[in-house]
Amino acid sequence: MFSLKEKAIKLIFACLAFSCLLFLLAIVAALFLESYPLFLKVNIFKFIFGKSWYPTFDPPEFGILPLISGTFLVSVGALFICIPLGIGSALYIHELAPEKSRKILKPLVEFLGAVPSIVFGFFALTIVAPFIAKTFNLPTGLCALTASLVLGIMAIPTITSISEDALSFVPNSFREASYALGANKFQTMFSIIVPAASSGILTSIILATGRIVGETMTVLMASGQAAVIAKSFFSPVRPMTATIASEMGEAASGSLHYHSLFAIALILFLITLAFNILAEKINQKYTKK
């Protein structure tokens, strides 16, 4: 009797755990079903590599290269900001900070991670964009640079908290051994601690990239919404997520435009999936040792 009860409990928890898989499958199915009609009419290569996005023209053009390039540009810019800041703060918090500042900094960084993305959007609109416009003498501050800056700031907590975990897994005996050989704090940090934590740090960067690529609200508000291939960081861009969010409301349900937005989501989903698989692979390699 007892074992039957145990089995039932186990089964219930298994169902709960596997429901995740079910949701994922449902999401993939929805994306495929809704984007499939587009690919009947538009060649997939033309879709991905087409240079013009005019979904409402007659005849419409569905080339998402400008959107992909927008996402790419903004993401690369954001990574340039969040990687040094994120890893730098993790190193300071874990290796260098006196107890007092650590106690203040750690919750602060975590709090930054809890700020809703729409709030970051307002921050971009009211502070960052005017500042960028003034500094670089631009007609509008809503451009790739502004979006990159704000996305970069948003992604700092992801990098900091995961990197900090990775640093805390480095055994103290490594530090002792290094000091005993006559190394100073910085030599120990850069030659011993960071290499030992490198796979965790790399994972944090990949997860942050996933977050940046998939972020919608902030880029919708900050990137300037021009669906053309950007010439520089000062040009307005329109990343994939922003396109979907802003056009979904106006696309007639069942139209080719409507299906094309699902197709963008599908591509985006595949990109973020690839990043997550990569992160998982790195983690596996790390824990095997």
Partner: protein, 253 residues
């Protein structure tokens, strides 16, 4: 016994963690090219004491120390004494083997790079150190493989090699065999006996037989105090203090 040359002289050492006194007025001499063993029950302050000799105590927060430790006439405990310089002269092997998660070669070259050894000389010194640590024959074909693939005993000898590479004058062993099997332990003991020709050695051990086998001088500590300090041969045959006798005969510990 008169030709014993003092390498390190520790005088009136007191050590505190916060309010707690860990070491009480300790004075010990370390003689050149001899092995000095520290025995005593857990928590008596043996490890704490030898960590003073290479300034590792400075890494412990909330601790304070008084007294003097002279290494070739220089006071190690003086705040102005350069920790890096002392640690290059006084190497340390820890309780748990702690090779870096790098290759065998890099584990040894790391210390050499820190002292700015010319690159050309490094492979030669790595080989020499591994030979001195009696590990060369076991690893010569896999120098560029991860050190973490080695067995515990091999890892500990690698740590010894790493320490020898930067040519210290004194080596501190903090219970080097605590996590090793008997065969690895005897290898380390042989090594200690071989190394004392070139170095001054201090070894902390839980194992009284080990102290008897490898050391020339033995210090018996109890509750932060030095109870007895005499040549090993004398202490193990006719201990002067009652406490020492009780400990050696296994009445407590």
């Amino acid at each position: 016994m008169d030709d014993n040359k003092i390498k390190i002289e520790a005088k009136n050492i007191n050590f505190y963690y916060g309010q707690m006194q860990i070491l009480k007025n300790l004075s010990v001499n370390f003689y050149e090219n001899q092995v000095t063993a520290f025995i005593g029950p857990s928590g008596c302050g043996k490890s704490t004491f030898i960590r003073l000799l290479n300034k590792m105590n400075e890494l412990a927060p909330n601790s304070s120390v008084s007294g003097e430790i002279y290494l070739d006439g220089e006071n190690i405990l003086d705040k102005k004494t350069n920790a890096v310089k002392i640690r290059r002269k006084v190497g340390m092997v820890f309780q748990k083997p702690n090779p870096f998660s790098k290759t065998i070669f890099q584990n040894i070259s790391y210390g050499l790079q820190l002292c700015k050894t010319p690159k050309k000389l490094i492979p030669e010194i790595v080989e020499e150190s591994l030979k001195h640590a009696a590990l060369w024959n076991e690893v010569k074909d896999r120098l560029h493989k991860s050190a973490l693939e080695l067995s515990g005993g091999q890892q500990q000898r690698l740590c010894i090699a790493r320490c020898l590479a930067i040519k210290p004058e004194v080596i501190l062993f903090d219970e080097p065999c605590a996590s090793l099997d008997p065969i690895s332990t005897s290898k380390i003991e042989e090594l200690v006996l071989k190394l004392k020709k070139y170095y001054t050695i201090a070894i902390v051990t839980h194992n009284m037989q080990q102290a008897a086998r490898v050391s020339d001088q033995t210090a018996f500590m109890y509750l932060g105090e030095l109870i007895e300090f005499s040549p090993t041969k004398e202490m193990f045959v006719v201990p002067k203090e009652k406490k020492t006798q009780e400990y050696l005969s296994g009445r407590f510990g």
